[in-house]
């Protein structure tokens, strides 16, 4: 990619004249010392040269010395503390909120590339929703022999109670957070589809708010797509699920409560949408099978529930009987069409690492199209041939349980010990349906501030896709970065951090 020599040299002397007389200016960051190794770097394409979309960022850090950007990072951390942007770690004792870790160097994606990814994400969610609706109703895809019935019947996320239900617009997964990764060749893959209760969007929004506060001049050098629109897009999508057509449907965000790891986000989204934040005990289902909330004026009808609790806890009548998080009768109120629930109960059936491997076929079957964003090649341990391949190549593979999230219980082959591999081999043989494996991808990197130095760190991207009456994709998404050197684990519960994500229009100035 050609670098435009215009920006870099032009800014450098300007910075030099800025230095106050009498003060010796410390040298800025030398990008030629930055070496991403064999990995694809999101910002730098060859030693010392930034990609077109990241020119401004590279020249900005070239101007500033290590103490200066450490100061910026400290300002960023302080802003995060003051704004109270926090997340929770389970079993962390008394400390229920921790400050959200954010790296100040933004991650850039060129607009052209993004437009293609956006189309791919919409294509994918559209097909997945057609799939879920089909699975719970006509089951054509099974009758046509494209998807094996056995995988449905053995899935713990297939809810029998949902059979025959037709949610409004035929859409089950209204909010999807797909994880995208890029390999060393620069190809972007979908790593997984999070369709249950995907989280992270508030951090995406807050990361932007923080970087605007801390690095305002960096914004001058780029045309960046704004992202602030998400809460109103979310509101409109939820409003489109209301069973009672009205101007102002009553929308609530259902949270498990203050000790949930994503409580910050629940409160944040409720606030930005002007919706009530409720827990299960605030809701009651009446004899008329409609949902009401307890207010200071008595009971008030609820039209749409944006639930942030898992299926299992939604309704003790239908699912876990001992759940105190949900509300009795909620499921049947939904099944009768008296309340909209996003995401619909049962949509987790498509959020399964086994179903994932069928997504290209699902897209082809329902839409007659080839997938725009490819899947990571995957091996299902339930198939004899695949399992043999996994067991013999374990040190080059990532082995995952089929339906766990948060980076728990997986084996990363290249960094694993012999004993760990042997243990996983036993687990796979004992319960092959539970496991799948993918080749260990050489995840892309981006420059990240580590102490007083800028170093490459691996990252992924979680864009958020909405589908109700229409579609919406967040411009960019939440970039999660593995802060430990060489680590591939980007989850915040596993030592991951985050970055503001910029979709940069390089053709506009």
């Amino acid at each position: 990619m050609p670098t435009t020599p215009k920006t870099t040299p032009a800014t450098a002397p300007k910075a030099a004249t800025k230095a106050a007389p009498g003060k010796t200016k410390l040298p800025g960051f030398d990008w030629t010392s930055y070496d991403p190794g064999p990995f694809y770097d999101e910002l730098i394409h060859s030693p010392g040269n930034a990609r077109a979309a990241g020119q401004g960022i590279a020249s900005y850090f070239k101007k500033y010395s290590a103490p200066a950007f450490q100061k910026k990072q400290a300002a960023c951390d302080l802003a995060i503390r003051e704004m109270g942007i926090s997340f929770t770690i389970y079993s962390d004792g008394e400390n229920i909120d921790r400050s959200w870790p954010m790296d100040i160097i933004p991650r850039v994606i060129p607009l052209k590339e993004w437009q293609r990814l956006e189309k791919g994400l919409i294509q994918r969610l559209t097909a997945l929703n057609l799939f879920i609706n089909d699975v719970y109703n006509d089951q054509k895809i099974i009758k046509d022999g494209v998807f094996p019935l056995a995988l449905i019947t053995s899935s713990k996320d297939f809810l029998k109670a949902c059979v025959g239900v037709k949610p409004i617009h035929g859409v089950w997964a209204n909010i999807c957070g797909s994880d995208l990764v890029r390999d060393d060749e620069g190809t972007v893959y979908v790593l997984e589809d999070n369709l249950r209760v995907p989280s992270g969007v508030s951090y995406m929004l807050e990361n932007r708010a923080v970087s605007k506060r801390v690095l305002p001049h960096l914004f001058n050098n780029h045309s960046i797509l704004p992202i602030d629109d998400y809460p109103s897009q979310l509101y409109d999508m939820l409003a489109s699920l209301s069973p009672r057509p009205s101007e102002n449907p009553e929308i609530v965000v259902l949270t498990p409560g203050i000790y949930n790891s994503a409580y910050f986000e629940h409160a944040y989204l409720a606030q930005r949408m002007g919706a009530a934040l409720v827990t299960g005990s605030d809701l009651i289902v009446g004899k008329d099978d409609c949902v009401y909330m307890r207010t200071i004026d008595g009971l008030a009808r609820v039209d749409v529930i944006y639930r942030r609790i898992n299926d299992d806890f939604l309704d003790p009548e239908v699912f876990q009987a001992d759940s105190t998080l949900g509300t009795k009768g909620l499921f049947s109120a939904w099944a009768k069409g008296n309340v909209g629930i996003a995401n619909a109960p049962g949509c987790g059936v498509a959020d399964d690492k086994i179903v994932y491997t069928y997504v290209p076929a699902i897209i082809k079957y329902y839409l007659g199209e080839d997938p725009i964003i490819p899947n990571v090649p995957s091996y299902l341990c339930v198939n004899d041939k695949d399992r043999q391949h996994v067991l013999t190549n374990m040190e080059n593979m990532v082995v995952k349980p089929a339906n766990e999230s948060g980076g728990y219980g997986l084996l990363i082959g290249p960094t694993s010990t012999k004993a760990e591999r042997a243990q996983f081999a036993d687990l796979i043989r004992a319960n092959p349906r539970k496991y799948m494996a993918q080749p260990a991808l050489k995840l892309s990197t981006a420059p990240t501030l580590c102490g007083n130095h800028i170093e490459p760190r691996h990252l992924d991207l979680r864009p958020f896709v909405l589908q109700g009456k229409s579609h919406y994709v967040t411009p960019g998404g939440l970039t999660r970065v593995a802060l430990r050197k060489g680590s591939l684990l980007v989850n915040s519960s596993q030592g991951g951090g985050s970055k503001d994500t910029w979709i940069v229009d390089t053709e506009r100035k």
């Binding site: 109270g84 606030q271 009530a276 934040l277 409720v278 605030d282 307890r294 200071i296």
Partner: protein
């Protein structure tokens, strides 16, 4: 509005007001003690008495000296009426009602909390006391102003007003009660400082200047009592708080019982002759006021915050 959210907003408002009041009480105590001659032992204990936490303090088995009392009232998390405990409760309540309040409220309260929390282990030396306490008072007032100026004056706002006025009435009556009793027992030595003490009571409620403006006479016990309990213009006077409560509850549905209780207490206060109230009689009178305020709180709770109970 959700009952549960109303409850949190109400308590947020009470704790915010309480934080401001405790900080002011400490500040005034600090200033008064600087005024007293060395021969008169400053009564630091009065501070925990005023806040109703004398027992809690005694349970710590510590000497009632300046250092211990200050750190108990300022930064002791085991003391539910300390500045840090009140701020923590205010913060927890707003953290769980962020969807209702203007987002800046959370940010400001959170940074106030962080600033106090960071110095929690220090016992607020005299040299810093004024600055720190004044900052807290200002930050609380800023939040009060922020709510008044940027929040919809809807049902949620009525609960903020209810909490604030109940808390103010509670604090004013408490301060009048404790402080006036500390002035009894006519030691001749204390006589010249009686006036200073009355002024300090007024200052504890941020009332000195307003008293001068409104009463236009020297500081005398009877006039001070009248001003702090019966003034209908001073925003921390009990009669004024009751009038505010009366307006608030009428903006909410099902307000019959609370409104009746508020009006009854207003009439009781209006009809009482404070000029005959001294010593034990004043104490009993204030006890009665406080019991009625407690009753109003319970009616608010039963009507809107926990209607199903």
């Amino acid at each position: 509005m959700l009952s549960q959210a109303a409850e949190r907003v109400y308590w947020f408002s009470r704790y915010l007001e309480r934080t401001e009041n405790i900080a002011r009480l400490m500040l005034v105590r600090h200033q008064l003690i600087l005024d007293l001659p060395k021969s008169i032992q400053p009564d630091w204990r009065l501070l925990v008495k005023m806040l109703g936490t004398e027992k809690g303090f005694d349970n710590c088995r510590k000497l009632d000296n300046e250092k211990n009392i200050i750190s108990f009232v300022f930064s002791d998390r085991k003391n539910p009426s300390s500045v840090i405990s009140s701020l923590t409760s205010a913060r927890e309540n707003i953290r769980t009602t962020r969807e209702i309040m203007p987002s800046e409220t959370w940010e400001q309260l959170n940074s106030l909390y962080l600033s106090v929390d960071q110095r929690s282990d220090k016992n607020l030396p005299r040299s810093q006391r004024h600055k720190v306490l004044n900052n807290i008072i200002e930050a609380c007032q800023q939040i009060t102003g922020l709510l008044s100026g940027t929040m919809n004056h809807d049902a949620a706002y009525q609960f903020i007003l209810l909490g604030r006025n109940i808390e103010r009435a509670d604090m004013s009556t408490r301060i009048v009660d404790t402080a006036s009793s500390s002035l009894q027992g006519n030691a001749e030595e204390i006589a010249p400082y009686r006036n200073v003490q009355w002024i300090s009571i007024l200052r504890s409620l941020s009332a000195y200047q307003m008293y001068r403006l409104n009463v236009r006479r020297n500081v005398k016990s009877e006039a001070v009592l009248n001003f702090l309990l019966k003034s209908d213009v001073f925003p921390r006077a009990t009669a004024h708080n009751l009038a505010e409560l009366e307006v608030c509850v009428q903006k909410l549905s099902n307000h019959g019982l609370p409104l009746e209780a508020i009006r009854r207490l207003s009439a009781f206060l209006f009809d009482s002759d404070l000029s005959v109230m001294r010593d034990e009689k004043l104490h009993l009178f204030i006890d009665e006021l406080q019991a009625e305020l407690g009753n109003i709180h319970h009616l608010i709770s039963d009507t809107w915050l926990h209607p199903e109970r």
